[in-house]
């Protein structure tokens, strides 16, 4: 249901405005509306100081959030960050700036080390191949090394080139070819210093350039660079571990302060925004806002106790604010609350209209259960829901999904019992399970009738809710909705009488009633009414999808069971059957969810739902949202 709201006006001396806003923030239930503009009252003007302060606060929030994210603080350590004073906020702002730069420095160092390690790792293969040889010659003075990577296909040509080099040169040149894991070859040429220029020229002419080492090792020779690179590979993990320790130390030092900074800056920003909505005279202020009807009295008592008689509070009469944009708060029993998520996926219902959550909470699991309808799948769904419930935080999206899965699983099991399904026909074949109502795989007509019957009930309920919703504001349209609902009922009666489900005597009165109702509908709702009425009949027929999806689900399950015996090997057949059941289960979760939602949003909500409500955002102390702290 939608909570009843009261419009409250707070009046007091201008000097106490900031103090009043602070008390209202502590109270946490008043949404400050745009200030009243009447003779003598003017909206609060925003000074350059206010604009600068807003910018500073936004910067504090950004710094603190950046630092918290960088330190990996996902959930606030303190349950509730305590409010902070202005002077403390200045200190916390400095802390946030310092923590931000510290986190940024740590992140830069970490990125640099990781990059360096990745770069050296790219040479790892080469280093492993050359290291033993270079180690041997590292003690020989006046010796130069030259490494070249060549494709494996050019091995013969390179060997020929090397032997020619050794023969032509009067110096002793040694060349070794080492295979790399990539399939290429590394050619290491060791030569006296005197021969280096000649050899390098020959290799360059043969288009065999020397291996290019990372930039920080460019200055060193190959025989010096390789051990240095190997040493860096051992040092980098130690340096990274040190950075991780530094980060932990910074987190220990700053987390509480950063959380306070975040909360304090958000609070101060909220007060500034509320201040901008106040109206003032030269000596007094006026604040108007929305609070739940039940808390209005509490607010009056609180302000009187905290600020004395100089600040007055009054509740405005409903006539004064009817038609205004009242914020909407949905409140539902605990069992229904998870289904508010489906309602919130649409624009919120307008204040004074109907909150469809209780109806969604009943019909969504029912439709879902009718479509999946399998004891086995229901048990698996319940187990998944329990698992998700255990590994989720209260108020998180995962918890909401788990709480929706519970009733869906219950209805799936219940409908599975009614239709005698346990993993398709597995229960019937092995355990002798029999349907209580009918077998969906056989009785397509009965299944269709159940689906259409449910559609009649659901759409009929929507039409009745439409009458109730429109009765106060648009009585003419309410009559139109009522006539539509009656016409649906007459058509059903006529059909049942024609099919001899009901006594034949019902047919003529039903048709006469239809003929009387039709012109009334056109007179009340206009020429478009017959089209809308036909759309309502189409909406009811749309519930045939419940039967279609249900039949598809059971058929797939039966095919999965047949697979177990269709393949030569029993184990392979069993695996195929399990895989097919898994696929069917996945489809069975997704399909019914989307279609049950669609039946609600299009067929059911279309009859009464009035979107356009604004969310309720009271002036309160900032709290990290569950979605931000944990999914």
């Amino acid at each position: 249901m939608i909570i009843r709201m009261a419009k409250v006006r707070v009046l007091g001396p201008r000097a106490r405005l900031s103090e009043t806003l602070a008390v209202l923030q502590d109270f946490g239930l008043l949404q400050v509306a745009e200030g009243p503009v009447r003779a003598g009252l003017e909206p609060m003007s925003q000074s350059a100081f206010d604009t600068r302060r807003r910018r500073q606060l936004a910067r504090v929030i950004e710094d603190a959030q950046f630092a918290l994210d960088g330190l990996g603080v996902r959930q606030f350590a303190g349950a509730v960050p305590t409010p902070v004073s202005v002077s403390e906020l200045a200190r916390l702002a400095r802390l946030a700036r310092r923590a931000r730069s510290g986190v940024a420095r740590l992140a830069n160092d970490e990125a640099r080390l990781n990059e360096e390690r990745a770069l050296i790792q790219r040479y790892r293969d080469l280093l492993d191949a050359l290291s033993p040889e270079l180690h041997k010659i590292s003690r020989s003075p006046h010796v130069v090394t030259h490494a070249v990577i060549v494709p494996a296909t050019e091995r013969a040509a390179v060997e020929e080139l090397v032997s020619a080099l050794a023969t032509q040169s009067q110096h002793s040149i040694v060349a070794r070819l080492h295979p790399l894991r990539s399939g290429e070859l590394v050619l290491l040429v060791v030569m006296p210093e005197r021969a280096a220029a000649h050899v390098e020229r020959v290799l360059a002419d043969a288009r065999l350039p020397e291996v290019s080492l990372p930039s920080q090792f460019h200055a060193a020779s190959l025989s010096d660079a390789v051990p240095q690179m190997l040493a860096r590979l051992e040092e980098i993990p130690l340096e990274l571990a040190q950075l991780a320790k530094d980060r932990q130390a910074l987190a220990r030092e700053c987390t509480v302060g950063l959380e306070k900074a975040c909360a304090g800056a958000h609070d101060a920003l909220a007060r500034l925004e509320a201040l901008a909505r106040c109206s003032t005279t030269s000596r007094a202020f006026a604040i108007e806002g929305w609070a739940p009807k039940t808390s209005a009295k509490k607010l009056m008592l609180l302000l009187e106790r905290q600020l004395g008689s100089s600040v007055a509070v009054e509740e405005l009469a409903t006539e004064e604010w009817t038609g205004e944009d009242v914020p909407v708060v949905l409140t539902n029993p605990r069992l229904f609350r998870p289904f508010e998520t489906f309602v919130r996926m649409m624009p919120l219902p307008r204040y004074g209209s109907i909150d469809p959550t209780p109806f969604v909470a009943v019909f969504f699991p029912l439709l879902f259960g009718l479509m999946l309808a399998d004891i086995g799948y229901g048990i698996v769904l319940a187990m998944l829901g329990l698992l998700l419930h255990r590994h989720s935080q209260p108020g998180s999206i995962r918890r909401t999904v788990a709480e929706i899965m519970g009733p869906c699983a219950a209805f799936t099991i219940l409908c599975g019992v009614l239709f005698g399904e346990l993993f398709g026909d597995f229960g019937q074949r092995t355990l002798g399970l029999r349907p209580v109502l009918f077998d969906r795989a056989e009785a397509a007509t009965a299944s269709l009738l159940v689906a259409i019957g449910l559609g009649i009930v659901h759409v009929g309920l929507g039409l009745v809710l439409g009458v109730v919703a429109k009765w106060r504001q648009e009585p003419k349209h309410a009559v139109g909705s009522a006539v539509s609902a009656l016409m649906v009922a007459f058509i059903i009666l006529a059909l049942l009488a024609a099919l001899e489900v009901l006594p034949h005597n019902f047919l003529t009165p039903s048709v006469i009633a239809l003929l009387i109702a039709f012109p009334i509908l056109v007179a009340v709702e206009g020429a478009i009414a017959p089209v809308e009425f036909l759309a309502t009949l189409g909406n009811i027929l749309s519930y045939a999808r419940v039967m279609a999806l249900g039949m598809a689900s059971v058929m797939l399950a039966i095919v999965a069971n047949r697979m177990a015996g269709a393949v030569g090997s029993a184990i392979v057949g069993l695996l195929f059957a399990l895989l097919f059941h898994l696929v069917n289960f996945a489809i069975g979760i997704f399909g019914p969810t989307v279609h049950a939602l669609r039946l609600h949003y299009v067929e059911f909500f279309g009859k009464f739902y009035s979107p356009g409500g604004t969310p309720y955002r009271p002036l309160a102390h900032w709290r990290p949202t569950p979605a931000a702290s944990s999914l």
Partner: protein, 71 residues
């Protein structure tokens, strides 16, 4: 009396409605994806819009089933 046309009619019933749905969904899906890129909060509306043409296939399936069952 030969009843070969009954399964053919049932198949045509389902196939034609499925083709029509696929064509409609391809248009709506493309437009919906473009809308979501700019306004992610429209996800519920887009799901509804994409699911609307499925009614055609569902009704095609129901009619096909009725044809088969009456045969």
């Amino acid at each position: 009396m030969t009843t070969w046309w009954i399964p053919v009619a049932a198949a045509a019933c389902l196939a034609l409605s499925a083709i029509a749905t696929a064509w409609a969904q391809s248009r709506i899906g493309a437009a919906g994806a473009a809308a979501l890129a700019e306004k992610p909060e429209l996800s519920a509306t887009v799901v509804i819009l994409v699911a609307i043409p499925e009614t055609m296939t569902i009704l095609g399936f129901v009619v096909a089933m009725m044809l088969i069952l009456r045969a």
